[in-house]
């Protein structure tokens, strides 16, 4: 099947052109480097031809390992005999930046005998400002067709389609090399000269952009707006997604209530009720959060605000080896690590993205909240100070949240300093895209695609682990006695591991089951202590734990343990999918588990002194 490559600089409107030509709905983002994956789709006008959308790039001269992968991928694609044409998109409002890359692309095409066509996007902006440019002259100079289009309005696309058809008909014709041997340094100079000679003159969008920037980047007002936007985003994950999450849980429970009684066999009934519906519910419940966060982040990216937010956060996060672009993923991680890991996609520096992945699981996610609530209710007295203004339990909750965040930042800081020379990195040179109104339809579609990605990629892993843990907890006691089950027996086996924390086998079992999701710790302990509905109301369970004689030192050690340890299975699944490395997820699990254990022992011994 014949293929056409679409390539261009970040922010040149490539994704929008791809959508126009294929009728697909890849999301368009007004944020540099958003096209991370290679997308492909059939041309709407010629369905037997595939259009391949390559990641946006400023240059074919790679300065990081990840860029090199993209460059190599492009070179390999040019060797594919099915590739008949390369469409190189330029943003005419910022011609020089686009032209150098275009010349590099044309050179590579000449070397591989492929035809290159330059698509000059954003012509509508020039028209709006009543500015013209000599595209015919430019075309003659670079020896390639230059077609004016507006990807946003669709104007000029007919000519692109005609050119594609012509290219298909003439694909056997050879290419006349003109710059095949020209080095990068000369191409840079040529691009500079051509941009000055043929590029539009005058202020395009700059004045209005500068006015908005002076507001959004203002020391006081900009800071306030930033906090307001971040607060809204945080609310969106915590509060706006909650009704849909509750609805999914209720729907699964309702379906289970209808289906389960129809199953005659007790074991099959328990399996369907707890493992099947429990397993499906375990990952479906995250879908609303992923959808809402992807949508909100999409608005920030499309509007151009994301780049400003990254700028505002850059300086403080740089102290810990991170970048300003790490802030939103980490903030999302406070609600749930999974949307946070997805949000880290927009970090173009591989090193910073890796560090952000490392920090996210240490953010105090909402699944830790029931665990903290139980342990604080059990071990921290409800005394208040300053006329009730400050409560010991509230302070403890703040302390454990703060502790988790600091652990994340310290981890990235230590890793940055320890491995300074081990990673290639990108400098903080961030293009500030023009402010634009978001395109709503692609935003919704992208949020839907991201949710679907989670269900299809991570869902299988989460479901499998849920079934395995159910199996271990169910047999051989047939669900009657968790303590006597294989899981309970494993708890007895691992009890010596938890003895240094002053914990018995029941806590060992609860910690093991919390791998499904941290809050399962509370439900499992409730089962162990024979208390129904402990995940809804923790107080009776907290009283039971107190009555069992567990020490405050053990309670504090558990708090420390949960602040650091045990990424849940969902986090591990999505981390290995997004990072492309299962080893990374396993390493992080092992390192965080060990660190949590050692710090919990230290906390236990420290508190025991008092």
């Amino acid at each position: 099947m014949k293929k056409i490559i679409l390539i261009g600089s970040p922010n040149s409107g490539k994704s929008l052109l791809f959508n126009r030509l294929t009728g697909m709905h890849q999301r368009v983002a007004n944020y540099p480097g958003i096209t991370v994956d290679v997308a492909s789709g059939r041309l709407a006008s010629i369905p037997e031809v595939i259009l391949v959308d390559f990641p946006g790039s400023y240059s074919l001269h790679a300065i990081s390992g990840e860029e090199q992968v993209a460059v190599n991928f492009f070179s390999q694609a040019l060797e594919d005999p099915d590739v008949v044409q390369v469409l190189c998109l330029i943003d005419v409002t910022r011609l020089e930046k686009s032209l150098y890359f275009t010349l590099q692309v044309i050179r590579e095409c000449e070397r591989h005998g492929k035809h290159a066509v330059v698509v000059a996007n954003m012509m509508d902006v020039l028209e709006r400002h009543k500015i013209s440019m000599d595209l015919a002259g430019l075309s003659e100079e670079i020896q390639a067709p230059v077609l004016p289009v507006s990807a946003r309005s669709g104007k000029g696309l007919d000519a692109v389609q005609e050119q594609i058809e012509q290219g298909l008909a003439n694909s056997k014709e050879g290419v006349n090399p003109t710059i095949a041997e020209v080095p990068d340094a000369v191409l840079r100079g040529t691009a500079h000269k051509l941009a000055h000679k043929y590029g539009p003159k005058g202020d395009l969008l700059i004045k209005s952009q500068a006015r908005l920037d002076s507001f959004f980047l203002h020391t006081a007002l900009g800071g306030l707006v930033f906090f307001a936007i971040m607060y809204m985003m945080f609310q969106s994950i915590f509060t706006w997604a909650a009704p849909a999450m509750d609805a999914i849980e209720a729907l699964i429970a309702d379906i289970a209530a209808v289906v389960v009684p129809l199953i005659p066999n007790q074991i099959a009934r328990d399996f369907v009720s707890d493992a099947l519906f429990g397993g499906i519910g375990a990952f479906l419940v995250f879908v609303p959060q992923i959808f809402v966060l992807t949508f909100v982040i999409g608005i920030l990216e499309d509007s151009g605000y994301m780049a400003r937010a990254a700028l505002i956060c850059h300086k403080p996060l740089r102290l810990f080896g991170l970048t300003g672009k790490s802030f939103i993923p980490m903030l999302s991680g406070v609600a749930c690590a999974i949307p946070g890991i997805y949000a880290a996609r927009s970090i173009d520096s591989p090193k910073k993205r890796l560090l952000t992945y490392i920090a996210i699981p240490l953010m105090p996610c909402s699944a830790r909240l029931p665990v903290y609530t139980l342990l604080i209710a059990a071990f921290i007295p409800s005394t208040t100070l300053f006329g009730g203004l400050v409560g010991a339990q509230g302070a403890a909750m703040f302390g454990v949240y703060f502790f988790g965040m600091m652990c994340g930042l310290i981890a990235t800081s230590v890793l940055t300093r320890a491995s300074k020379d081990h990673y290639e990195d990108l400098p903080f040179v961030l293009e500030m895209p023009p402010y634009r109104l978001p395109a709503w339809q692609p935003l919704i579609r992208n949020s839907w695609n991201r949710s679907k990605h989670f269900v299809t990629k991570a869902g299988k892993i989460i479901f499998t682990v849920t079934v395995v843990i159910w199996f271990l907890g169910y047999f051989p006691t047939m669900g009657d006695d968790l303590g006597g089950s294989w899981l309970g027996q494993m708890g007895h086996v691992v009890e010596p591991i938890f003895t240094p924390l002053g914990l018995d086998w029941r806590y060992g079992v609860a910690i093991m089951t919390s791998f499904l999701a941290r809050e399962v710790f509370v439900g499992t302990l409730g089962t162990m202590f024979g208390i129904e509905g402990s995940d809804e109301n923790v107080l009776p369970l907290a009283e039971q734990i107190q009555a069992s004689g567990l020490s405050v030192a053990s309670g504090v050690s558990l708090l420390v343990f949960f602040a650091i340890a045990l990424m849940c299975v969902s986090t591990m699944a999505i981390l290995s999918k997004e990072s492309g490395s299962r080893t990374l997820a396993l390493k992080m699990f092992a390192v965080y588990g060990t660190a949590a254990y050692l710090m919990a022992i230290a906390a236990y011994n420290l508190v025991s002194l008092f």
Binding site: Y58, S59, H61, I63, T93, R94, L95, E96, K97, Y100, F101, D184, R188, H192, A195, G199, P200, D203, L204, I206, Q209, A210, D213, S214, L217, T219, G222, A307, L311, I312, H314, K315, R318, G324, L426, P427, F428, V429, L430, E431, M432
Partner: protein, 81 residues
């Protein structure tokens, strides 16, 4: 008289004269690819507080650079027209 791009105040211009030798070659090349050529006039548009990256205009593009990069770009005053 040469100074670094980082020292440019908001609303003022400078002409890129050279890059500091401390700036890695890869970074230098990337900056030139983005339009930061010696001889090019740069306008500083914003200097956000607390040492945050500054905002610069080069040709018709706007970029934000942090001090780690901007300190290594040498500029000279722009001759009055």
């Amino acid at each position: 008289m040469f100074s670094s791009l980082w020292s440019l105040q908001a609303g003022t211009q400078g002409r890129i004269s050279d890059f500091d030798t401390a700036l890695a070659e890869n970074y230098r090349i990337r900056l030139m690819e983005l339009g930061f050529h010696p001889g090019e006039v740069i306008t500083c548009l914003q200097t956000p507080a607390f040492g945050a990256p500054k905002v610069y205009r080069v040709a018709n593009s706007i970029f934000s650079l942090d001090d780690d990069v901007a300190r290594h770009i040498m500029i000279s005053p722009v001759d009055p027209a």
